[in-house]
Symmetry: C2
Subunit: 366 residues, 2 copies
């Protein structure tokens, strides 16, 4: 089944027949509501040089100018970035590592070695999650749930990706110098972490996670390893549709709706898919993959990788939430769940998108 994407950008709104809800959409409620106000009390984002020169570069907390960061392998470099982000987020929350009850994290590498090796060295109990590039919202969702339910007080969640490790694993060794198709995206080199802590006097000035939606795996038949945006857009649509029909919020209730790393092409597809269902995304919709690089940086459709939305959320978005410029945002990271093996065997690429809704501490004050 191919994506329905017939001339949607020039489509005249008044002519649209609103399509039924997405295939597989279920009316069964799947919004998790957090009544005990878990809060994001610390965060850090680390990126590579290319990312630091992009449009949102000034918001990131640390830039690593050497892709290997003095390590022997790119994989070790990714572990190092991951470690820096986690320890930085914990410090930002004015905690020591010993005060952290649990770490929930993942990455893109086979068997998630970045996250596991970093967790081994950090020495905090660990839950490994896999959601490809949707890892950050999966981690925030689970951390918020565990803190909200009272199982733990402080949980750090994190995600990372690295251009060189991801290219080697998913596409070709860098040394081949392969030409990239115009619809390709560029894997972000970076790592980011958030500390989710329970609501109390000390934490009341921090943004709160008010709800989350676990994603439904959605597959519209894309099988091109380079075209991740098109593969993930239907999953983002499914979760966004659920959010806007089950949460009680409309598009206008959000100062910003942020998707993970659909890129230019993928986010255009998402706008169309939503419009076909009667929901118009306006100026308050952005895609992290679309904004992380400048057109002149030649990354074609934009950024991808776990770190893409994770670093932007933990810097730019969180800054605006802390200051009250954004009162409420929805963050839908998106992941493509294939492996090279599954693609070689002729499988298509399923996508997933988990969502969290985060409110500024100043939300509801005016």
């Amino acid at each position: 089944m191919a994506i329905k994407h017939s001339e949607p950008l020039s489509m005249n709104d008044s002519n649209i027949d609103v399509l039924p809800p997405p295939t597989g959409y279920s009316k069964r409620p799947r919004v998790m509501r957090f009544y005990n106000t878990p809060r994001i009390i610390g965060r850090m984002s680390v990126v590579g040089e290319k990312e630091s020169k992009g449009p949102v570069g000034k918001y990131f907390h640390k830039c690593e100018t050497d892709d290997k960061m003095g390590e022997k392998t790119f994989e070790r470099a990714e572990i190092r970035m991951f470690d820096t982000a986690v320890r930085g987020a914990v410090r930002d929350a004015r905690l020591n590592i010993e005060d952290v009850d649990l770490m929930i994290s993942g990455d893109l590498l086979n068997q998630m070695t970045t996250s596991s090796y970093a967790a081994r060295d950090i020495g905090v109990p660990h839950i490994g999650i896999y959601g490809a590039c949707s890892t950050m919202t999966e981690g925030l969702m689970m951390s918020a749930a565990f803190v909200d339910a009272g199982y733990f007080t402080n949980i750090v969640c994190a995600a990372s990706s690295h251009f060189a490790t991801a290219e080697r694993q998913f596409r070709y060794p860098l040394e081949y110098g392969c030409q990239r198709p115009p619809y390709a995206q560029w894997t972000v080199t970076g790592a980011a972490a958030s500390v989710v802590g329970k609501n109390c006097k000390q934490t009341e000035r921090f943004p709160k996670i008010v709800m989350a939606i676990p994603g439904l795996i959605t597959d519209y038949g894309v099988n091109d390893l380079n075209n991740m945006g098109a593969a993930m857009a239907p999953a983002a649509m499914d979760t966004m549709f659920t959010l806007l029909t089950q949460s009680g919020f409309n598009v206008d209730d959000f100062d910003m709706i942020v998707t993970g790393d659909l890129g230019k092409l993928g986010s255009d597809i998402l706008r169309d898919l939503m419009r076909e269902r009667g929901i118009k995304l306006g100026q308050n919709y952005i895609d992290c993959g679309n904004i992380i690089y400048d057109v002149e940086q030649k990354c074609y459709q934009g950024g991808s990788g776990c770190a893409c939305s994770a670093t932007i959320f933990n810097s730019f978005i969180m800054d605006k939430l802390m200051s009250g410029e954004f009162k409420r945002i929805a963050y839908l990271a998106t992941g493509a769940l294939m492996s090279t093996q599954s693609c070689y065997q002729g499988e298509t690429i399923p996508g997933i998108s988990h969502a969290v809704v985060v409110e500024s501490p100043y939300c509801g004050e005016d």
Copy 2:
């Protein structure tokens, strides 16, 4: 740092100096207690032919005699087994797929394609987890927490592994006919699923998950891809030590303490590591890897893989809990968190072990 394993099997108990708690052991509480009594209301285990001929073979629900199950690839066969187990567990809980709120699952393959592709076809919202062979307890822990906290009513959690897909990915293609060292284990071909549902009149005859402990990643320096048991035993020790010092239960409070897939060698190491810390595991300790195959089946140290303990828990152990023969058990699945890439790059193998404590509905009745 090498494992301390000097002649422990013949060690005279009276001569032991009790060692301090394991390295990295933290006194910070990490037992999650479930006061709202989430229950395991449905389950299914599917295995391959070899497993069905082992000592616990008669307990499994379904045996697939063809390793490819009529599919084109071993990977598709694993997806099919996974699907059978999930749908079977949901049926066993007298539910329809539409009644299931969430699926939490994982497997061993790169980017967890088995679990993602199966979830795509099943069409239930999905959270992907990665804990290598500890996936089943990770899934039970999260499902129990989400049901206990009231976010969802019915969650299915599942795990799978397949000898042929795992060998190809982690070791050598089967066609090579490689000789296996005597300390190797055999990856179990199988899949298993449990449905965790909330406590109510209809579910009160089912076993309840009363607590869980997320694992700490532990690494004693083993770097041999064939010697998983030795790599995982220290992680099992850490979690078991935490269980026995923080839960309020002693070894004797459990009718059975079950570890995942340490195998013969690994479970001997665990007994020694525990004994060195003053805790003696007796007749009520078993390891699933150790009991799944018969010595005559030439699997050396026994079984491994996510499915090893997942299938035994969902058949043999759950049967005994349902009947009341076991009143309370602790189930500690164990995972080794390396990838082939990390091993080629000279990394050692970190292990993890998540624990759940499950009680029979008849627990506390006598």
